[in-house]
Subunit: 214 residues, 2 copies
């Protein structure tokens, strides 16, 4: 398998955690987003959406979108599972992951921030207010969802990490990078710390990638 | 089952198509987004994210996020299937759906457009350019993905409608509503027309909902 990603991309980070939990080896091809490598012809032939991640499965197919890639990994490499076997719990896990992937992350990714400060002429303060709004509000929604759950589990949905944790950790990393205050989100913080202590998460951290740049 | 949605919400529209394809009846509770009903205490207790849709399953659980709801419907009411039985095709179907749900729709929803014209003071022209950028570029990526597929199928992934079509149709509806030019996207157009001809899609159209407002 050949994995095309970028060290700081949240959605690449999610896939790396999943690879590590599953113990799957892959060839890594860095796509330097900051210099626009994703818009080059070679990469567009792989992914017309011009976004990372993309996974060449080795069967002539390229998969895109992190959640689709992770569910495919989970279906083709079932142990350890990243989703509950119970359909209702699985739907809650997917819903939590999608709060992040469909409502928070898209508003903070590089191309959108570039558009804000470029085409729309937003100031640095306006960009920071935008980030505080969507990351703050979005992670507060995550906290609300976690508080609604019964019990005080080690991870979002139980005692082993899964899809929800895989999405939460890179989003908290981004919030910290953008100086968004999430100090009041106690369950989010607790689960983030529990995940960060695991080598599967630590090894997937942006700072530990071959294409890392300070 | 009690379904909380709004006639014009794309993600509610997706769920309605899925209900219709599956032939599932539900109680409908309109949430009037334009007047902010989603931020009221009653609704927030159901969904801390303050967004539609939300589905009370009748087992004391509320599901959120349209793709999670639709996959749950598909798992608990398997016929007719909305996803392929083949993991690789299923991953492509999910990826296509997520291009829309994770990259296009979040940038055009009501709260984001309100923030643009409110807090950021974007003009009507700037708002329209924003919409043209993300809807145009996003649907062009969908066209690219469809063109990469072998064959000239009636729907996105074969001869029966599924998750990808369920996401595509409301997104094309939005593009038309916002006057985004997608006339060059021939496969997108063709598949949209094939879907629109089905009563399951027609019955889910915003104009046919009890909370419709002109």
């Amino acid at each position: 398998m050949t994995f095309h990603g970028y060290f700081r991309s949240s959605s690449s980070y999610r896939c790396r955690i999943a690879f590590n939990i599953k113990g799957i080896d892959y060839d890594f091809r860095p796509v330097h987003l900051k210099s626009g490598a994703q818009t080059g012809e070679d990469f567009r032939a792989l992914n017309p959406q011009k976004l990372v991640p993309a996974l060449e499965t080795g069967e002539g197919t390229t998969l895109i979108q992190s959640l689709a890639i992770i569910e495919w990994l989970d279906e083709t490499h079932p142990e350890p599972p990243l989703l509950s076997r119970d359909p209702l719990t699985r739907a809650q896990e997917r819903g939590f992951a999608q709060v992040i992937a469909c409502e928070i992350h898209p508003l903070q990714n590089l191309r959108v921030l570039k558009y804000l400060t470029g085409e729309l002429g937003a100031s640095e303060d306006q960009k920071n207010a935008w980030l505080a709004q969507w990351l703050g509000d979005g992670l507060a929604a995550c906290e609300g969802l976690l508080q609604k759950q019964a019990g005080d589990t080690r991870f979002c949905f139980g005692e082993t990490p899964g899809l929800a944790d895989i999405c939460l950790v890179p989003q908290v990393f981004s919030a910290e990078r953008f100086n968004v205050d999430i100090s009041g989100l106690t369950r989010v913080r607790e689960i983030y710390d529990n995940c960060a202590a695991l080598p599967e998460f630590e090894g997937a951290h942006p700072k530990n990638q071959p294409d890392f740049e300070a």
